[in-house]
Symmetry: C2
Subunit: 624 residues, 2 copies
């Protein structure tokens, strides 16, 4: 698939954008006119630079407010267009994007639109360029891709075709079925954008909230299947107006963008082949990535700490046992309880904050997952390995978390445990703890969308829900991503980094590991006996629980006594408690009764308020 990206997606100067697009591996770019206008480089210099970088210049855009006007105005518009055709000749670009008229059209007449497009086509002929006419979703008279296509047909000029932009089609809720009815050779260009479903005016939605394919809610695979059937063989290009991308580091945005196209290409190839339409994939030159099956649970979590003592104390209080030390890297130790394994990287008595550094995810075919990750330009984690040790491949997630692809060994000890001197015989039964319910990772807001695509494209996770909840330092945004088989659940949280509420932010939103039990009261009692510092739950919370759920006094007393929080939905109940904070993390224990589908989000404000008070009190020197 020929890949392209509009320069408006990227930050920096035009020269910086070109370099980033080339470095990421795009085949070409669309030149967004304003990027050229503000550039000190001449069109000829830009043309040479692109050639040096191996990039084609696929489109010059946008040309606005052309058709549907009186003759005098039209002649002025033609002169304006001719100046741009001359500029395109200097740039060596053969296609211009013409947007349906928004501001100046006064005459609603398809015949006139077509006649004016035909005259534009005659001018284009003289400059050896062609015109791709696109219906903007907010066009004055033309705002529907089928309407634009009819006008192009009516114009009947070989230099006039259409441009399809998925945002303008899908934002209006239109079906993409009719894409198939367009002749491939009349589709002069294709722009792709995804977007979250938002209820707002389309123009603002378009200008600020587009995202790369796979990061939003649009069904782009379906669009691509229809497109493939037309025989279209041109570039598939990203045109994303996004406030964050505009200010993010340009190289990283470009890699994220190319990853989105590779993922979409793979999905489209698979959908076509599954439907017996492999032939349709050929014109677009689609090729697949190595296939990854759904992951099957979290194999281990790794914590790094410069305060080993307090960290292992909490693990012990929760019932974990020390398994052993890594034979070639003795700074690593493993703690286990049933199927839950926590690796600790001991940074010595440095006081470095305790935090989650790595996840091991059980993957049916780690080699394929690694190969796919490589093709998607995920950055590999360098890892030393002594002779005889298990090969473990990992990549950095956008937030810096190391994600490792473990093999499947759900019932017995995975092979890597032997490197810690742990064998199947060492694993005592631990009936209370049954697995990892979820892992919550804090995300920098700049890379939230990138993270979604990372887990979607590398590990086939799906965005399951989104919510936001209040805290003393502002709203926390949260997305739940999970595998289709529900064995891996990640909560990705974005905290307000720019607040003014002091060190709670400097310490970062605390991440956590939630482990599952079948008997939370027993786990809580054991932990209390061993002296665990629970995160305190206010009395007011229990008063409110009582008012909301009409609980029995005995049950309420049990919750109170064990610092348990509670929630309920139509399908079940959820009981949980939190440990105090260790550096930038804590541990949660949860029990699900019945089919409760949440993860305790209704109680998150209670937790955040308590964590905030602890940080603030610590600042004031009040002992915890």
């Amino acid at each position: 698939m020929r890949t392209s990206i509009a320069t408006v997606c990227l930050s920096g100067t035009l020269a910086e954008k070109l370099r980033a697009a080339a470095d990421a591996g795009f085949d070409g770019v669309e030149i967004f006119e304003q990027d050229l206008t503000v550039s000190p480089h001449s069109p000829e210099q830009i043309r040479r630079r692109a050639a040096d970088l191996g990039l084609t210049l696929d489109l010059f855009q946008p040309f606005r407010d052309f058709e549907g006007v009186e003759e005098a105005q039209f002649e002025a518009n033609l002169r304006r267009m001719e100046a741009k055709f001359a500029l395109m000749n200097r740039l060596g670009i053969d296609t211009i994007l013409l947007c349906s008229n928004v501001a100046t059209a006064t005459i609603d007449d398809d015949g006139l639109f077509a006649a004016q497009l035909r005259r534009a086509g005659e001018l284009a002929e003289r400059y050896d360029v062609r015109i791709a006419y696109e219906a903007l979703a907010w066009g004055r008279f033309v705002n529907d891709f089928e309407h634009a296509r009819r006008i192009v047909d009516l114009a009947g000029h070989p230099r006039v075709g259409t441009c399809l932009d998925t945002f303008h089609i899908l934002s209006r809720g239109w079906s993409t079925d009719a894409v198939e009815e367009i002749a491939g050779e009349k589709i002069f260009f294709v722009q792709l954008a995804d977007a979250p479903q938002l209820s707002m005016d389309i123009l603002s939605w378009s200008r600020h909230h587009r995202v790369f394919p796979g990061e939003g809610d649009f069904d782009l695979v379906k669009f691509m299947r229809h497109l493939a059937r037309t025989g279209y063989d041109g570039p598939v290009s990203l045109e994303i107006f996004n406030d964050s991308f505009r200010k993010a580091e340009v190289g990283r945005t470009a890699v994220d963008g190319l990853r989105s196209l590779r993922w979409l290409e793979d999905q489209t190839w698979r959908a076509l082949h599954a439907a017996g339409e492999g032939k349709a994939a050929e014109a677009l030159e689609l090729s697949p990535l190595p296939e990854v099956a759904d992951p099957e649970g979290v194999d281990f979590v790794e914590i790094s700490t410069g305060r080993l003592g307090e960290t292992i104390k909490v693990l012990h209080q929760l019932g974990f046992r020390l398994g052993g030390y890594h034979r070639s890297k003795p700074q690593f130790q493993v703690w286990t309880q049933g199927p839950v394994r926590v690796v600790i990287g001991d940074r010595g008595p440095t006081g470095a904050p305790t935090g989650i550094t790595s996840l091991g995810v059980r993957t049916p075919d780690p080699a394929a997952a690694q190969a796919r990750a490589h093709l998607l330009q995920a950055r590999p984690v360098p890892r030393e390995r002594a002779a005889g040790e298990v090969e473990l491949h990992g990549v950095y997630a956008p937030d810096g978390t190391e994600v490792f692809f473990s093999g499947l060994a759900p019932e017995t000890a995975p092979a890597w445990l032997a490197e810690f001197g742990v064998t199947d015989n060492d694993l005592e039964p631990a009936p209370l703890i049954t697995g990892i319910d979820h892992v919550n990772l804090a995300q920098p807001w700049q890379h939230y969308d990138e993270t979604v695509l990372f887990y979607t494209s590398l590990m086939a996770l799906e965005t399951h829900s989104r919510e936001e909840f209040p805290s003393p330092i502002g709203l926390i945004s949260n997305k739940v991503m999970r595998s289709a088989n529900d064995t891996v659940r990640l909560l990705l949280s974005v905290a307000p980094e720019d607040g003014e509420q002091g060190d709670f932010l400097a310490a970062a939103y605390p991440e956590h590991i939630a482990i599952t039990t079948t008997d939370i009261v027993a786990v809580a009692r054991r932990a209390r006996q061993r002296g665990l510092a629970f995160l305190p739950v206010p009395e007011n919370y229990y008063d409110d629980l009582q008012a909301r759920f009409d609980l029995t006094p005995a049950f309420l007393a049990e919750l109170r006594e064990n610092d348990l929080l509670y929630d309920r939905d139509a399908d079940g109940e959820f009981l949980h408690f939190y440990t105090g904070t260790l550096g930038t993390m804590f541990i949660e224990v949860v029990e699900r009764r019945g089919g409760f589908s949440g993860w305790g989000e209704n109680n998150a404000p209670v937790r955040l308020a308590a964590q905030y008070r602890n940080v603030r009190d610590a600042e004031r020197g009040i002992p915890q």
Copy 2:
């Protein structure tokens, strides 16, 4: 006017919110239930704390999803309500906010709503509390304040009244005229919110984008006039859900909130008195602030610099002359050209960046302006004054800029100039420069709304327009505020502080002073002769100008030759140039021909790209 604020408006813990509200001078607060639920303080402790701080607890809120349900569900709802009434008794709060049912109502029957409210009223009687029923704009069956009022009338219970919330009324575009038809004693509570006009779903708009009165687009003065006529004599309370306020420093938000109510009170008092309805102002106990007349131009701009040499060089190149040194503070010097006066604070050869520190605004009655500013809790600028020197009062704007209230002296030298040894005789004619067109100040995003209210309430500026424009580091948001007589124009810009594009951000979005000329070509030529480093304008820009405006070759050559930028609208033309950047600022020279109403926003991207390249090249050691 009795002032109140909902705790949900503020960041931090409940205890911190109470202190901030008291410190700002509010009379009372609304307790937002979740703030209490997550608090470790008991209801009795909160009650005592509020009393100690001199705050009344005016409302407990919200109670949701009550009416319009089957009997069994209703009885459960009554039990839930009774628990909250008991809690209110512990808190000492006598009014609860009941929101119209959003989620659970199944029966659309005003008779049933009224009957269920009456039964709630009977329960309220037992607890000596009362119920303020409010129509949420997205209520299932009741979403209109007049409908809520009819249900309250139908319920006919003395413990059941209504709550008016301006957001729920004005977001639907409804007239507030019918407020007058409600009996004052049936209005149990009033919540005020302003908001910018946005085209998005009302729930998201409400939850994220409310602002304090005077910071948005709603006509709250009109609402207040109708309210005053009802005889309502309860608190007027702020209920603002705003993502920025939730994370901002709590004390500052509280002061901003109280300022908004004081301003609104003043405006309402004036509107009522102007209409001969002074009597209506009495029930609400409205009182006015000292009146300020419109300002009449910028008296001076003060620049602070640790690089005096390069700063005065540019002033000289633009035609300014050194007037003299301040007689008691010789580190200050003044440069003048016609009516434009630039004071320079010389920080010695420290290399401290050059930037705009103060504005002097010509004000008909500086003492009244200062008194008003004091009542609006603006922080005064401390200023030493030797005997015989002019008294000059100033306050800090939210971004830290010092704003001074100068008297009127437009034709002759203002009195303070004499302190620099400048008399009328020293002021040579300077026909080329006629005034200050506008001043552009960078704003931290956290305080953008606060800044708008600051200039609105202290100086009677009005928000004239908003726009945003792209730059290599992201979108810049911009608001133009100006005096009604158009003699003072401020451009307030918010740049993306969180971008990843390096030192352009560390150096901050560059602010500027724009001075007006009647002959920009002459000013540019003189400046070039004197060696001014103009901000370079790319050739591509002129090519595009030609295509857009069809300019004569001679005129285009004149623009090119003088590094001038150009814009045009239906009413006139705009020519301008920029100097290179000095620290965090630069100077612009503008010429308006005809009635052009913009300020060059269409050319801002050209400027920002050039400034970005300069910063980046400087980082790389490329000489400027």
